[in-house]
Symmetry: C2
Subunit: 382 residues, 2 copies
């Protein structure tokens, strides 16, 4: 059954499962305990940290393992709120994931400066520069790749703008990692990622601290991870995260690869089969795996349910958003109307997705288009 | 190699490994996604939550899966700080785990009321009652069982005192769960636990919210877990936690069992072989698995290192504390001097520990006693 919801979560990669099982069997001791087998666990944890730091291009001391990207986002913004002056303003991209937006609103409220977004979903680095110059923001929040649309943000340029202005930068790389090279994120300040988005286990993630963030305390309660996060380290989870990322990095089949071609073929096929469909963010550079389709008619839940019965698993938006009421804030920020956002379906492939899967999904959408068109009730409904 | 550091962490139980693998293979989809296989993951997650709630004796809606006890402690105390009046005072047991004490200090500082501890490490429920009546505390923090000494607190009585006074109660049950029955914790207000302390995987835990804590938001970022904790749920971790707890609960070999006898035999053997040794908290009811030994001479790291070479893994105290400088705050609170606390070793058995393991450890301590006595340098050193 072709699975097209990798941006929600991915199946556990066999290399990650093996790494988890091996660590659970061999180095399950508490890395903080005072005997030799515990020291072996500590060495293995440090090795996993160093390997991840190499992929990111940062020092090992900057890497902290966490329970996932949501923890990282909450902890980063809580830290900013504690460390920045009480009147400090923070510039934020309105298409961020809810795990970033919600703590940003809680901690900064009226002190948030909303960055402009193009109709293709991009935050230009010039807009970040303008926000820094005009409103004297002390921090900037712009993700690497959007979870709903796959739109890539110019984070290397934004990171440079922030660095040269001496402004903190927070880059949610949860959807970038494992799909595009991690290399360079070392220069992006505060960075978060989640293993289950790239074949690792659920409940494991990391953040990269910028240099000089020695005072950061994400969880209080112990000297683990240089005091940055108290709590017994999840060594099996950490080595499984690194194993999954290493495998994805090893593929080196990136934007320019045949996978972009498959996605583009799919988009073309859908445009032909479903007149009036819109590919959201079509003018922007996007992840090779993601297509956000604004259907010309019929509520997205109808499409998703029928596709499920035809053997294709797609989503109505982000998995977090589907559990909630209301249309996508991402689409709203890009200028779409509320009723349009209720017609959006998200398609997100994985490394195991092949050309025939994409073609099959396009054919299924064509079938449903005919079906819904024949059934006027659905078409008129929105 | 007899492992006597179960209070630091436990090996992964085979039932937990199987549950984790099965969930990772079969129901790895995001429970929040909108197709049938995701709905199956949601159903399985809800079933795990209900099972855990049954063990605790609470409603399923009160159970929130987390990344561990440290997360639970930090989130609970952050929530108390937000919800209680700005001048509210909180009574705290000074022998709590650092993951409780550190956030308590950060959030309440001078507003903490330190509860008296007996020389055996107990906080009497009458002392809690007095703190509520005399200093009008709005919250009470007393753990179920101490990680360093195994001393059991009278938490059922404390819970009743708090309930009848309308005061919040927070009970860290990380060391209790899996060793003694969970039943009754449903009445203990805010409760936290960690899977890796009872054969579950690392990086997984839970908290139980008291009834009426609808406003609790541990991590912002999504509607998962009724909004109590945003972030993709770790279903494999949750089902593994429940499988491990179910197995431990099924043993029903509790305080009155032969395991207490093995521990007592061990204590007697050590008292005979090592004149001047003190069993910390000897007068209190303690976990069947834990013995904290104040050795009459020689720094604890020497004992631990030599025991490791003889094939026994024990600890100098809590694993969290060993990574830090300074002697145990638990021993200090019980009235021991700093130099005494540096001679304490912690022995903590597991369900797989058998009588001959205990006897072997006692014999090893006897061997080392002779060795250290012969080597006067060590004996005089402290």
């Amino acid at each position: 059954m072709p699975y097209f919801d990798h941006n929600a979560t991915t199946p556990l990669a066999p290399v990650a499962r093996e790494a988890w099982l091996q660590a659970s069997a061999e180095t399950w001791h508490n890395p903080a305990s005072p005997y030799r087998e515990a020291a072996r666990a500590k060495i293995r944890l440090d090795a996993a940290r160093s390997r991840l730091a190499e992929f990111l291009g940062c020092a090992a001391e900057q890497v902290v393992f966490t329970s996932g990207a949501t923890e990282g986002a909450n902890a980063t913004l809580a830290h900013w709120a504690r460390m920045l002056p009480p009147d400090a303003r923070v510039a934020v991209n309105p298409t961020e994931h809810p795990c970033v937006l919600e703590p940003a609103k809680q901690f900064f409220g009226e002190r948030l400066v909303w960055l402009p977004v193009t109709s293709d979903g991009r935050v230009e680095h010039t807009a970040v520069k303008a926000a820094i110059e005009k409103t004297a923001v002390a921090g900037v929040i712009v993700m690497a790749a959007n979870n709903e649309t796959g739109v890539l943000q110019p984070w290397p340029e934004i990171a440079r703008v922030c660095a040269s202005a001496g402004v903190s930068y927070f880059c949610d790389a949860a959807q970038w990692l494992g799909k595009l090279p991690a290399s360079g994120l070392g220069g992006a300040g505060w960075v978060i990622g989640a293993a289950h988005k790239f074949g690792g286990p659920k409940g494991v993630g990391f953040f990269q601290l910028p240099k000089g963030a020695e005072s950061f305390r994400g969880q209080l309660g112990g000297a683990q991870q240089r005091g940055h996060r108290g709590g017994t380290e999840d060594l099996p989870g950490a080595v499984a995260l690194v194993a999954a990322l290493a495998e994805a990095e090893g593929k080196k089949v990136f934007q320019e690869s045949e996978r972009v071609r498959w996605r583009e073929q799919f988009e073309q096929a859908v445009r032909t089969a479903v007149p009036g469909v819109t590919v959201v963010g079509a003018g922007a550079e996007r992840l090779w795996n993601t297509v956000s389709l604004l259907m010309p008619h019929t509520e997205n839940h109808r499409w998703v349910t029928r596709l499920d019965k035809l053997g294709f698993q797609v989503s109505t938006g982000s998995a977090c958003a589907t559990a909630k009421e209301g249309p996508s804030h991402v689409l709203s920020a890009m200028g779409f109307a509320q009723d349009e956002a209720r017609r959006v379906i998200r398609v997100s492939a994985g490394w195991a997705t092949v050309e025939t899967d994409w073609n099959g999904l396009a054919a299924a959408l064509a079938t449903l288009e005919s079906e819904f068109r024949a059934d006027k009730v659905n078409v008129i409904k929105i």
